[in-house]
Point group: C2
Chain length 135, copies 2
DNA sequence: TTGTACTGTAATAAATAATATTACAGTTAT
DNA sequence: ATAACTGTAATATTATTTATTACAGTACAA
């Protein structure tokens, strides 16, 4: 997660939540976020697959929220853009070493637990809570 | 944190905690972890700066824990290798947009809160707790 | 006092990952 | 038809991470 995806996704969703009746084009969203429109469209595609957004093609098209901002948890957004374990990747340790042989299993346990805690804490806020701060 | 540093650091410290009286050379540690010895020495240097490890140069030298494993919290290790916010980086959004102008401040708040929760959860386990699983 | 086995550190290279750019076929409104 | 969009893929660029190499410095031990 040393990347821009969470910030980008949340930015997109915040903008959409402010005009929930409007179809906003990707160029407009990209202009506010200051990234390339193709990047925005790719993230929108992901968020759409997760059911947060619906889009319309063609002239006058764009994207809007597919459900109320109050029903989208920040943990849902996190999980939609999640790519790797929160505490990082593992090595490929030496299986001939007693520690090396077992460490990845124990690291995985630790990572899942830490991530479950993170998700629990993010699930306490909705997109609506986050977006409300901007009005 | 989409990297190997947390896993590497915890692996080093686990090995050291198993032979708390011995000076273990970086080549040996690197062999168990299966990374380059220079990488191990660099991480050791960082962990030493944080007071977890002491090293001895020269023949017969190596590293050992500088304090009991029961006094090293997993959150301390996390903080020693931490490089970026847990939820990722921010964009450089358009300041002409009302959302773009404010979003980074709100993201920072969210990141700090999430990170504080993570640290709290990691602080409940010590290196000794983690290493105990291997015996 | 010399050889051996280490550390500490830096410079560079290589590999991997993330992002930007470009392009264009397909869709819809007018 | 034309214009304004989306969806998606291919490629290029940039950034980040890791590996490699090198070597001066330190300490032990014969």
């Amino acid at each position: 997660m040393n990347n821009l995806r969470f910030a980008t996704a949340l930015h997109i969703l915040t903008l959409l939540s402010q005009q929930p009746e409007e179809l906003l084009p990707s160029e407009y969203l990209a202009g506010s976020i200051n990234v390339n429109a193709a990047v925005v469209r790719k993230e929108i595609s992901n968020l759409r697959n997760h059911g947060f957004i619906q889009s319309k093609e063609g002239k006058g098209g764009g994207s809007m929220l597919a459900k109320p901002a109050s029903e989208i948890l920040l943990s849902d957004i996190y999980q939609a853009v999640r790519q790797a374990a929160i505490l990082g990747r593992n090595n490929a340790p030496n299986p001939a070493c007693p520690v090396g042989k077992q460490i990845n299993a124990h690291l995985e346990d630790l990572y899942s637990e830490a991530e479950a805690n993170l998700i629990r804490s993010l699930s306490k806020k909705t997109l609506a809570d986050f977006a409300r701060q901007f009005s």
